[in-house]
Amino acid sequence: MPKEGRFMAIITVKNLSKTFKVKLKEKGLKGSIKSIFKPKYKVVRAVNNISFEVEKGEIIAFIGPNGAGKSTTIKMLTGILYPNKGEVNVLDINPVVNRKKLAYQIGTVFGQKEQLWTHLTPYDNFKFFGAIYDIPEAAVEKKIEEFNEVFELSEFINTPVRNLSLGQRIRCEIVASLIHEPKVLFLDEPTIGLDPVVKENIRTLIKRMNKEYKTTIFLTSHDVGDIEKLCKRVIIINDGKIVLDDSMENLKYHYLNKKIVEVKMREKVNLDNEEGITILKDKGYNLKIEVDITKKSVTDALKLLNPENIVDINISNIPLEDIISTIYKEGI
């Protein structure tokens, strides 16, 4: 049932857990021989009792440091892995029970794993993917034509995938995953290894498919640019647990209680031991300070610098990357 004032959740995760049994081995040959006769195992809790919901049309960032449990969660949502505990529902389908039915409704792109046939052209690959999803040939042709126009593929649509640049290849991977018009798209680090221009192209493509096809996007990425430019909501996972689930706006509001002030001055000013001010860089007439606005307002900080003394000034927020790093390190 739709919740009051909200859209219906199309991904529901309740108390989800996944553990892996990992074999332990002592060092050297002796350790290897010992592990044959007396193997020791440890249980790694990759995902530990997480719960969340995703609404239709959202672009959600599911982020965390390496080994936090992001990919394991995506793999449980898409039916690749079986959970040990908990419930998963994507579009009212349980991936464990009905993997095939779900596969018709979702798309997946794993930035580290190639799904396209490299000796075939993107055009042939799209046709192959159309066949996988039982789409009639005429409908696939029409869809390819449409994607060719929307996502500007004409330049390389008839070039074998192995001859494409990484950016063009990822673009084709994403387009191939859209051929059956999935309602939800899971993107696992889609911009990994791409240069800034290509990253921007991929982001535009993701935004466009969210807008044009109303596709819900579940994104994992280590690139803060992806998160900042695409997502309105962010879930941070660390050590298998959700440490933050909030809107991007709230994240910035709550965690941006520090401002960075960069000034060029006529005369040197000594701000040592001033409460709420941390000196980040001091190059004589050029100063970079961090102002903790819970302790000192920016106006008060500027008064200390003396406005008459300031030649140039730049006030900015703490980069999102630093906020996320702090959450990774310290939790909430």
């Binding site: 794993f110 042939d124 039982d134």
Partner: protein, 264 residues
């Protein structure tokens, strides 16, 4: 149900076609793989010709029957390695987490995973099988039965490989066990069954079912017997179903991986 089977068959055929196209990119390598496999198989017949110049009958087989045995063994081997090449390295696919891309597709995971590659030399085996049939004596009836037994034998060999490789879901590296099982199937298939007695013979009709994949078909091809034909057919169905059962049971234990993977 019928539509699902039709769609699965369509995508399997497409997958095999694309895999073959990939192998044909290098024409010289492709052709030499096929031709040299035919020559390689032919070279083994020489020793049998020498043996039959000394004796008329070895293990109840004449030279013509040994030829047929080799032909059918090659057909069986060829069908399994050409159409289901990845069944023989399934352990590696499981251990390296390469099943992910098949699991997110609305198709049968096992069939999709084992039909993404073809072995050009296996095409040489199939070709060799038919050359032998023409030497043995061609008739439409024999051709039909021979092709049927080649396919059934190929399915039996593939199913055994899938079962042994699927043990990787439980015991990680089982590629050596699988390889040993596959080699046993291939090696025993090229000897007349009359030379095996007692426990070995029992083994060949049970654990290493070469008897059902090759010996019974040779007996049917030499003298038609419906019961024996049905035994081969029934056994094939059972072992293929068992392969699916073991694979899907194991799939619940699949742990994927985060290795960088390219489909090449």
């Amino acid at each position: 149900m019928l539509t699902a089977v039709k769609n699965q068959t369509r995508i399997t055929a497409l997958s095999i076609k694309y895999a073959l196209m990939r192998e044909m990119l290098n024409k010289a390598t492709f052709t030499s793989n096929v031709v040299f496999m035919v020559l390689n198989n032919a070279s083994f017949i020489i020793q049998w010709v020498v043996l039959f110049s000394i004796r008329d009958n070895i293990g109840g087989y004449t030279l013509k029957q040994v030829l047929l045995l080799w032909g059918l063994a090659a057909m069986t081997y060829g069908v399994s390695r050409f159409f289901f090449a990845k069944a023989f390295s399934l352990s590696n696919i499981i251990n390296n987490g390469k099943l992910d891309s098949f699991l997110v597709q609305p198709k049968n995971v096992l069939i999709s995973a084992i039909t993404t590659d073809v072995s050009p030399s296996a095409l040489g085996d199939i070709l060799y099988g038919y050359i032998i049939l023409f030497i043995y004596g061609f008739s439409f009836g024999t051709f039909f039965l021979y092709t049927l037994f080649g396919i059934l034998g190929g399915l039996i060999v593939t199913a055994i490989s899938v079962i042994l490789n699927s043990l990787s879901f439980w015991f990680q590296k089982t590629d050596v066990i699988a390889e040993t099982g596959n080699n046993l199937m291939t090696n025993f298939a090229t000897y007349p069954d009359g030379i095996f007695k007692g426990a070995v013979k029992l083994l060949l009709y049970t654990l290493v079912p070469v008897g059902i994949a090759t010996y019974l078909p040779i007996q049917v091809l030499t003298e038609f017997n419906l019961v024996k034909l049905l035994i081969v057919l029934g056994f094939t169905i059972i072992i293929v179903l068992l392969a699916f059962l073991v694979f899907y049971k194991g799939l619940k234990r699949y742990s994927s991986s985060n290795l960088m993977i390219a489909r090449i």
